[in-house]
């Protein structure tokens, strides 16, 4: 369950991270792994999938030291998708929370 849930939400998390500002793969992994566990191996297949969906596009930035670096940026479609995903997520969380509260209330009721 945990894995399934994460797989669906990982896309949203990456889009959200990019909504805060363009970023590159290593930085994205660092940002995400500050608050959640992310497999580094998933990052590139995931970014390619997001690119294929046209939610994300890339551009190269020349660096002073060594070869250029690939930056990812949200497309207009990606922003729309993010809003949609966030709405669904919020609804899901509030649904689950209300069930949990209801269950907790019942348990308390039975106990007293």
């Amino acid at each position: 369950m945990k894995t399934q849930l994460k797989k669906g939400t990982l896309d949203m998390c990456v889009l959200a991270a990019l909504a805060a500002g363009d970023s590159y793969a290593y930085e994205l992994v660092s940002i995400l792994s500050r608050s959640m566990e992310v497999s580094e191996g998933t990052m590139y297949p995931l970014m390619r999938r997001l690119q294929a969906e046209a939610w994300v596009s890339t551009y190269l930035v020349e660096s002073a030291s060594g070869p250029s670096r690939k930056y990812y940026t949200l497309t207009a479609e990606g922003r729309r998708q993010l809003v949609l995903m966030q709405q669904e997520w919020q609804e899901f969380v509030s649904d689950v929370n209300s069930v949990l509260q209801l269950a907790a209330g019942q348990t308390k009721g039975e106990a007293s």
Partner: protein
């Protein structure tokens, strides 16, 4: 595994991708190694975190082929998809063999239907054009029949015998009692005879030369005009029906295959472990 090994294994496994796409992927991973090293990690640590390059490449290949298949549905691309999915695991590989056989049958069916359809259309168009504009002229075996009938009408005494100076012979003989008519041509090289028996449509062709003798006892003296029309229409119906069936089956197969491919890639996502 160090960076060098990881990158070269990846490159090797992606060798069938277009050059630009392969370089793009390899550059991604090189960039990742650079960033990781800059952050003070070891090459082995980064390589381990990125996963098995072979498996990574197989997945990238499968995705690539499926994307190409979705943008252009050619048989070449289809076989590439099947091959890529087969490469994802042993069970897939085993399933691919009967599947490829099925695809082959489907292809043959489609080709045969196309041939029959084209034949029918050509036949129909020729007949229609002939009926409407008198072009192209249709060389019917009817000429041959006309020969018989006009000869038959000439009466029993109308046998023809022509003799050449070097022993060449041409005989046209009617045997009224047997209801048989024959043309016999003979020279020093051999002989050719055509014989029509009492039955209307069948004839016998016999050709003899120094190499031997050829008999065709089921000589069909041309199909009738009506027969040709019917054959043309039947071929069109049969060919079109076959093509529709093949097309419908192919569409169904494409969808099933893509769904199966996505499912397999989904399994890979899971198997790789999102928790690291």
């Amino acid at each position: 595994m160090n960076q060098q090994e990881f990158i070269s294994q990846l490159q090797e496994a992606l060798s069938r991708l277009p050059e630009s796409e392969r370089q793009d992927i390899v550059a991604d991973y090189q960039e990742y190694f650079r960033d990781g090293l800059a952050a003070g990690r070891s090459e082995a640590d980064i390589a381990a975190a990125l996963g098995d390059p072979q498996q990574l490449a197989r997945e990238l290949m499968a995705r690539h082929h499926m994307a190409r298949w979705e943008s252009r549905k050619s048989f070449g691309n289809l076989f590439a998809v099947v091959g890529a999915i087969a490469g994802l695991g042993f069970l897939n590989f085993m399933l691919a063999i009967p599947f490829l056989f099925y695809l082959w049958l489907l292809t043959m069916g489609a080709l045969a239907s196309t041939g029959i359809l084209i034949g029918g259309v050509v036949l129909f168009a020729t007949l229609a054009s002939n009926a409407l504009f008198g072009w192209p002229g249709i060389q019917e075996a009817r000429d041959f029949r006309t020969l018989w009938s006009s000869y038959e009408q000439a009466g029993p005494g109308a046998n023809i015998h022509i003799r050449g100076s070097n022993g060449e012979k041409v005989d046209v003989v009617r045997e009224a009692s047997a209801g048989r008519v024959s043309v016999h041509i003979e020279s020093s090289d051999g002989s050719l005879s055509v014989q029509r028996s009492a039955s209307e449509a069948r004839g016998v062709l016999r050709s003899v030369n120094e190499d031997g003798q050829l008999d065709d006892n089921e000589l069909n003296i041309g199909i009738s005009h009506e027969g040709a029309w019917i054959a043309g229409v039947l071929m069109i119906v049969l060919g079109a029906g076959g093509l529709c069936l093949c097309y419908w089956m192919a569409r169904w197969t494409w969808r099933a295959l893509l769904a199966y491919g996505r499912y397999q890639l989904g399994l890979l996502d899971k198997a790789r472990g999102l928790d690291g």
